[in-house]
């Protein structure tokens, strides 16, 4: 009999159900969560350089003006929005709210994420687009 827990069980379960909205939401939450943890480490390192090593910090900021980094940061903002909004959705379910509309709520929250992302992009566009 197959074990009902552990890495193999988890992977098999995901592989079997990935087309379902609930599993998709789970994968999206997990992938964005891991990306955000990595980003958090880098972010704390970079920002603390402002205090520990002023010149180093300024040179890191210079590096961030590269369009590649701007694109990376925009991806992280999308990751944060998606993770945060799906997190609100999960918390609502924990409180018994919206349980009958789990799938619709996922897509509705993703639409909100994209809308907020574009609003944010419009604000910073003169800086990252126009220099």
């Amino acid at each position: 009999m197959l074990k009902q827990s552990g890495f193999g069980y988890y992977v098999r379960k995901i592989a079997r159900t990935w087309k379902e909205t609930g599993t998709l939401a789970h994968i999206v939450h997990r992938v964005t969560g891991i990306l955000l943890v990595v980003y958090l480490g880098v972010h704390i390192y970079v920002v603390t350089q402002a205090s520990l090593n002023g010149e180093g910090y300024e040179s890191i900021l210079e590096m961030f003006r590269d369009p590649l980094f701007a694109a990376g940061e925009l991806i992280m903002i999308m990751g944060g929005l998606v993770h945060g909004l799906n997190g609100i959705r999960l918390t609502l379910f924990d409180m018994g709210i919206g349980l009958k509309h789990q799938k619709a709520m996922f897509w509705a929250f993703m639409v909100i994420a994209v809308a907020v992302w574009f609003a944010g992009l419009a604000i910073v566009w003169p800086v990252i687009g126009g220099g």
Binding site: V37, V47, T48, A50, L52, G84, G87, I88, D94, G120
Partner: protein, 119 residues
């Protein structure tokens, strides 16, 4: 009563993951709006980081954000690892490493910004 049981601890961590997540929605919104969207042209120079950290309001907000985000991130990693292994010894070892890493990261960031916070 002895040490909290594994399931009791897990329940508290689960609640705290929700609480910290909810707090992060508010704190990150403040963080992003104040730092990046109110004046997108402002470069985040050393002097500006310093000034921003000196006000009491921002000192409190930033340290709360730091604490909540580190808890949420490391407890999130714990949740991921718990999905992948059911071996109690592996789980305990990973939890211990994550607790140490989280405390170190929080202490490092507070230590690094102390000169700024103290003026």
């Amino acid at each position: 009563m002895g040490a909290p049981t594994e399931s009791k601890r897990s329940m508290w961590l689960w609640i705290l993951q929700r609480v910290s997540g909810a707090a992060l929605i508010v704190l990150l919104l403040i963080h992003m709006v104040v730092l990046h969207y109110m004046d997108p042209h402002a470069a985040i120079a050393v002097a500006e980081v310093k000034i921003r950290l000196q006000g009491l309001t921002f000192m409190v907000i930033n340290n709360l954000l730091l604490g909540f985000v580190i808890f949420h991130a490391f407890n999130g990693v714990r949740n991921v690892v718990y999905d992948y292994t059911s071996d109690p010894r592996k789980r305990a070892a990973v939890s211990a490493v994550l607790v140490i890493m989280a405390i170190f990261l929080f202490a490092f960031a507070v230590w690094a910004f102390l000169p700024f916070m103290m003026g």
